[in-house]
Symmetry: D2
Subunit: 311 residues, 4 copies
């Protein structure tokens, strides 16, 4: 039953699965690992799954291109949740392996730059080879092809390995952001601490277009949280922008900014409004003067009175 | 009957009367000269007149402060029409006077800088004294107090004078803009070449406030036509701004810009949307991409679809 | 000797003279009243005087057009000082006149709107006629032509009059700002609380030009203090702008902003950098981050290192 | 001798080598393939090589993170040249292999999304596995591990393979941009069609910071060509920006913009000014009014005259 199935970027034992399991509803869903982000999302598009959890941004490696590009093109999808997962690696080994025995290590190519300094300090002579995923690296250790794999500590039991060292990460505060993606539907109700994602294509050869794009947000007091350029595939120098802003599409300031973008840009794709992970609405700073829904209403009433000759 | 009465800045024989008589409906109205702009406007406020024609801007002297300030404060009024009148002075004299006989000249203080160069060239020794109005100057010449008065040529018969020289003006293209003011009511329907006037008060001590004000217009592609600062009377350094922009309050881009101003500024007074004098809508440049009512509608429909999960 | 002579907008007994006498150097100068702002300034241009004190802005009536226009056009002049004078009128009468005896009042046309409410409350039936200046009104009372004149209390002895009522002004905090004007020379050294004045002509038919002008200031963190549009005399809709900003031309942020204006505008006239009246440098808020001279220097050094391959 | 050695992202037979060989000076250099972008660049930092050619941007996959991040952090480097290489893949096979024989294909992970559609159309049942590089994939075909590899046609002879199909690419205009990187030195002289690259760190928690960054460029008429956000490694939501703009650091408008960025941002790293690949200076549109070096000079002269009292 697709309504009870969630796909995720597999295989089992990856950080994505760990992120998915932080969602309460994951307990009542069938969780299906997929070989790639496109595969996980295509299952949703084809109604084979109700949702898919995929990584979208890594605090070390940046945006996850496969996810950004799949959301920007192909059949429309929407983001309904985000999950923020602190990332720390464990060095997984077959039982009995000591650090001095580790001559070869593996892991996802993305993991390598995140543990490079640790490797240089603790295993300066070990040879690194990339695996298709962290979990796949663990499997290859299980099979004896490598001596150790960087992966999440939670992956150890699945592959009969032991965490030799834990909490490995070159950067402090390393985290990956995941999104739960579904077919387009009405966005969840605003919580007071929301985020709105869109993809925006700029017109050709208009040098000030990016500035104008940002001003559509700025003039309505809508703060940007992330902006990422992605190639459109039309050649070097042709970009679209993946943009997250504060607020919910039902907030008047956000809705007006989105309509402004829609008018001046050749194409805008709405990717959803959803709660910001780990943010308590009561701790947010106040809105800029003149941007609350109440102030929008008051101004609209005033305009009506002007039109009626009663201002 | 106030409904058939128009006041104007008198006395009879001024450029204001000449401007008023260019309006077709003036033929069927009782035209009443008033001693001052406030008096002409107060007659409208008190329902003693249906409308008042007053000068608002002179291409040499600038904004007419009395009009700007009366529209900004006091009982609300609205502009329904503008009249653009080319200004050229005649030198009015008693019959028989020759140029060499002119030792003293008079006129409205505003006229003096407009004919200064002509005076220096043709009557270098004549003594200038100001009169309360150009027409009043003509009356003083009739009474023999001065030898000549600068006034509109049309004023000559009223005061039994003759135009000795006509077409006098130091500046080319000199003109005065007049507005027909009435009590607040529904603005006239848009013509395609309209203008919208407001007065905007900025908040205190916010250095970037003027820039933000202009950006509310700019981001919606609404062009400014005139901006004039006026003191609020609260002390040096406290200003409000009288602003004319292109377009009609019923144009979506203008309405949205006005609501934006209303939200960020402590006070906005709507002074009307009315046809631009002497402009043929078919000759206007096209609107900036993304600012037409159709594009606003399309964007609003798109937002609705996003909210409904159908984008 | 012109070097010891200051002209001012006369006649004697006006607020302008009072403002001039607040300057320490006035005690050692010959102070010469002139009949008009142009006359006062022309005396400086022709080297007949070292300086001229003229009003430039009134908290009730706004910019003084004659001064703004004379500074914008004609032979170049520069502002070296400003004087801020609180304005309150006295009702001057011939000795023995009581309030109930006052049937006619006079004063400068600019004074009338500043005392309108007081008149309506205290002398509702008195007839107002304008005089060429407040001091001239006092003279006309001395001659018996009017019963009372609004003028500065200091004008009473000059004309043998008595102040019947003092401290009259409809608006609180009423003040007039005067400027001491001289021939172009090196500006005075910065004091830390300075002001820089320019006149800026915009190019034709460029709707966003005013916004661009303001951005040249804003991007360098230079706050605007006053902006006033003035007609260029080329016809309705053609303006130049008289602009005061915070800071001194020798401040790097101000100099760079002025050069930016010079590049994008067809004409910029520098009118001077001079101390702000009544402002203690120690009470000013700190400069915006990144706009101090030190930060400009640091950035210039960095650019040099980049150019040299040493960054 | 390091002065005659260029490293590049190896192994031999990759597009990077092909790009490097388009440079005339490559003929007289020792060209050394390295296993990674960091390794290629570290050889330059340690003076083991005079330069390194590395990919920086792919029209399908976007920015090359390893290159962007290595240039942003670590020992300073500068870009001296860019090379734009059209990308089309050949399907390389062992001699005698027909299309129907191809059951397994390999190539760089980045190649896969660029040939996905071609694969779906021509080899729908073939199994894809990633190789460490396109050239490495070719080697694995040579060794018999896979039936075919996507790589540049030029790689065929190196590995004893034949191009079975050429010109494969899902996207039209596919290209990769490479940069030649060296140790910091004086930038090459401007050619009239140059590009300037920087990395900019924004201050924390300042929502409008990106807009301000763009305005530093915009107000000086400097067009952006590329902007890419990269995580700083300090946690989710902390970014720096890799920015290319038109023009050379010795152009006054570019220098002033860079100094503006330096003042308002906590950190700016200059990455070089260098000729734009494939652009003829004579075909560029004219500079925006007011932004040429001549106009900068004129404005600077004017400022000096103002300071001297001679404006």
């Amino acid at each position: 039953m697709s309504a009870t199935r969630y796909t995720y970027l597999g295989p089992e034992g990856t950080f994505t699965e760990a992120a998915l399991r932080t969602l309460p509803e994951a307990a009542t869903r069938e969780l299906v690992p997929m070989v790639s982000v496109p595969a996980a999302l295509d299952a949703v598009r084809s109604q084979g799954a109700a949702g898919a959890l995929v990584p979208i941004e890594n605090s070390v490696e940046g945006g996850v291109n496969a996810t950004l590009d799949e959301l920007a093109t192909g059949g429309p999808l929407m983001i309904y949740r985000e999950v923020l997962l602190p990332i720390a690696f464990a060095l997984l080994v077959r039982p009995g392996t000591a650090l001095k025995d580790v001559k070869t290590v593996t892991g996802h190519p993305v993991a390598q730059p995140q543990v490079r300094n640790w490797l240089a300090g603790h295993l300066p002579d070990a040879l690194w080879e990339s695996a298709a995923s962290n979990a796949d690296g663990a499997r290859l250790v299980q099979e004896g092809r490598y001596d150790a794999a960087f992966a999440g500590e939670f992956a150890a039991p699945t592959y009969g390995l032991e965490p030799l060292v834990t909490g490995i990460h070159d950067a402090q505060n390393a985290a990956t952001r995941f999104v739960l993606v579904g077919r387009p539907a009405r966005p969840a109700a605003p919580t007071g601490a929301d985020k709105t994602s869109v993809v925006i294509w700029l017109g050709d050869d208009h040098p000030g277009a990016l500035l104008e794009l940002l001003q559509e947000y700025a003039v309505r007091g809508v703060n940007l949280m992330r902006i990422e350029s992605r190639p459109t595939g039309q050649g070097i120098g042709r970009y679209c922008f993946s943009v997250d802003c504060e607020g919910h599409i039902t907030d008047r300031r956000v809705g007006e900014a989105l309509m402004g973008l829609k008018r001046i840009c050749p194409k805008v794709r709405f990717l959803g409004s959803y709660p910001r992970a780990g943010v308590d609405p009561s701790e947010l700073p106040p809105l800029r003067h003149g941007t609350s829904d109440g102030e929008f209403s008051t101004a609209a009433d005033w305009l009506t009175r002007c039109l009626d000759g009663r201002a």
